[in-house]
Amino acid sequence: MAAVSPIVNFTSLQKRYGDGPVVLENIDLSVQTGDFVSFIGPSGCGKSTILKLVSGLNPWTQGDLKVAGMKPREARDRQAFIFQDATLLPWLTAQLNVEIPLRLRRVSATERVNKAREMLALVGLAGVSGYYPRQLSGGMRMRVSIARALTLAPELLLLDEPFGALDEMTRNRLNEELLALRAQSPFTAMFVTHSVAEAVFLSNRIFVMAARPGRFHAEIRVNFPYPREPALRASKEFQLKVNEVSQRLHEVEEPVHA
């Protein structure tokens, strides 16, 4: 039953802020359990807004949106959000940062200490659990952020350009780690990015979006089987897929105004 019903379902959804321009127009999307869906498009196409709607932070104006068959707010326990910057609390150590979601849900102290320790070990940071965020590199901070998001074993993970600020090597490694984590504790992912290669490496479905108003321009399926190895990036098929997505993205890019 769970396999057939989509975990996220947008029907003819429209979103605008007050009397402002329409941010999202006529969004129909159903994300199936186990999907890794990426959203890519020019700035202002509303790709981040899609994640905010799913997380229940923002209301929409028309149409409908269900998460696990419920209103987004009611489904908060099933999802976690990873922001563009790591958004760690600077006054807490890595360990205590990972404990935060458990603490907010009033999980007992021993359980939350153990769980957070386990999650930090999983992202390879057991050795720096006592460090404060400013003592960690950008990549390490993002790993802590991922560990924090996964402490509650969410069914749905929302990622808003999480690796955008990192150098390419770190970004590639974190892409691989993210897929490895997903193999261990499966989650459905909705991923916003600016990088075509990243989207192709991670996703089984890529939505290319256009702006003004934000809408879906094309859906591209990526059928490389999981687990995906780093070597995939060097393959011809991968390059062809990157070209295909880039081509579709090129169609929606607006001419640069002087």
């Binding site: 958004t87 609390l89 600077p90 006054w91």
Partner: protein
């Protein structure tokens, strides 16, 4: 920001101090000013030495009033800030009145304080509190309401209660602002206590304080001793600020960006 070397940060004020004293002596000799009008720094240090027991005892008395007012201002200031942070409507309706209180010169209020609270220690503590209260409220409110939007979103997505959001997010996020307010208050508290002693001091309290000494030396026309009292007040102020700076270091040095660390 590049910090000057420790040697430079010590020698610079010494050099400027020597120049300052040089100008002082030059003015004194050039204008042929009487000791009554402008004593030499030497005479002031001499007076400070002669009066050292009185000055020390006075500084201690003043410190008691200053600490009392400072602690009261901190308690009231933080409570008011927590209250004001709860809603925009509350801030809108109460903040202007707080500002009005701050705009009213305390000197105008001293007779009323004397009437309501009484002279001596209670009056002095009240004056000190009134003078050092505002920077604590203003800075703490600012910190409480400007927590990072993504942190707030994170808490909301975890279904955090308002109490959790306040104490696990907003209060620690406001700590640096609170400490900035506290540091300003620390410079004001000794001034407030001395002013309080001068205005509302009596035999029940403040009679031996620095504010009282100002009055006493002035009537006796002991001008070098008056300058020595200023020097002592200044030293007391430095001790206050040093204490809060220490507190600031304790609370922030591990995680806050204002303390640089080179351990990785």
């Amino acid at each position: 920001m590049k910090k000057p070397s420790p040697l430079l940060s010590w020698t610079l004020p010494v050099v400027s101090g020597v120049i300052f004293f040089g100008i002082w002596y030059a003015v004194k000799l050039g204008a042929n000013a009487s000791d009554w009008l402008l004593p030499t720094p030497g005479q002031i240090f001499q007076a400070a030495w002669v009066e050292r027991m009185r000055l020390f005892a006075a500084a201690r008395t003043t410190a008691v009033g200053a600490v009392g007012g400072f602690v009261l201002a901190t308690i009231l200031g933080v409570s008011a800030a927590l209250l004001l942070s709860l809603s925009r409507a509350l801030r809108g309706s109460l903040y202007p009145w707080l500002l009005a209180l701050q705009m009213t010169p305390v000197i105008v209020l001293t007779p009323i304080i004397q009437l309501w609270i009484g002279s001596g220690t209670p009056g002095i503590v009240t004056v000190t509190c009134l003078i050092s209260f505002f920077p604590i409220v203003a800075n703490t409110v600012q910190g409480l309401i400007s927590a990072d939007m993504n942190h707030v979103a994170l808490f909301r997505m975890c279904n955090a209660s308002r109490t959790q959001e306040l104490f696990l997010l907003r209060v620690p996020a406001a700590l640096p602002n609170f400490l900035t307010g506290l540091r300003i208050a620390a410079t004001l508290a000794p001034v407030g206590a001395i002013f309080g002693e001068y205005m509302v001091g009596n035999s029940s309290g403040g009679s031996g304080g620095l504010g009282f000494l100002v009055y006493s030396y002035n009537t006796q026309i002991k001008i070098p001793a008056l300058f020595a009292t200023a020097l002592t007040s200044c030293a007391l102020g430095f001790i206050f600020v040093a204490a809060v700076t220490g507190l600031n270091w304790l609370a922030l040095h591990k995680w806050h960006d204002s303390f640089e660390r080179n351990d990785h």
